[in-house]
Symmetry: C2
Amino acid sequence: MANVLMLIDNNYEDMEALYPYYRLLEAGHSVTVVGSPAGTYTSKHGYPIKAEKSPSGIEIKNFDALIIPGGQAPDRMRIKPDMVRLVKEAVKRDIIVGAICHGAQMLIEAEAVKGRKATCYISVKTDLKNAGAVYEDSPVVVDGKLVTSRHPGDLPDFCRTLVEMIK
Amino acid sequence: MANVLMLIDNNYEDMEALYPYYRLLEAGHSVTVVGSPAGTYTSKHGYPIKAEKSPSGIEIKNFDALIIPGGQAPDRMRIKPDMVRLVKEAVKRDIIVGAICHGAQMLIEAEAVKGRKATCYISVKTDLKNAGAVYEDSPVVVDGKLVTSRHPGDLPDFCRTLVEMIK
């Protein structure tokens, strides 16, 4: 089965990390949570999740997909070059990259959206466009191996699409 | 697709309600959240979920499955006869009933476990046995249409089993 990487930081949106996390386990995949540094992070509502790895311990070539949840976590991750590097390498190697809500901020930081169709949380829309993306207001937008959604209400579509793509 | 009922009360375990909730939506089913009274309830970590119905508005004959999450919510639900009635009727009509963690307390209250294989959170084990259940320490236990699990770590097995059974 597939090896999936999930980026995490504090104040992540609970369901945008935890539903994909459990959903991919349910499908039989391995999910490695990575934070800078490794350790326990908590959601907007205080739900803990353990990042067992730091970015320095990760080689993207060993992974099939990378997931970026939303909340305030991407605003924290984007100023950590080791976290941004993971997204850059994932895009360069053309593995599946899923980003929901404010997760798109990491795509912007990794210069990963120029000329690509994508969506995001409404407040990030202008930044996504300014970074060169072709913004679409849809529950899930797929452009090659880039999968994006807008908010927690899109999670069923986001996860259904990711599970279909990650084999 | 199926109509699924989910019982809710305050201090529910976040993932034990929200992952099955989103997972069943992802599978194309309808999920009706019911609380006594209808209104917004919050998880152990403060995550809100809206119960759009109260038990008086529910006829079990219109549903295919009933889910009972854990946390401290079942301790609250079990002293509300209108909530317990839903479980009793679900068992009587032999629809699929899924209970995880402390959710088993509602099965006990509804006298639904006598002679049936089931599991639950470790602290509830003695109560489950005393209610006549054949306790098993497994990630998911299926006895007819009764599906039980122990804790959040069992959620991938719990949801995979429910999704296979609910068509």
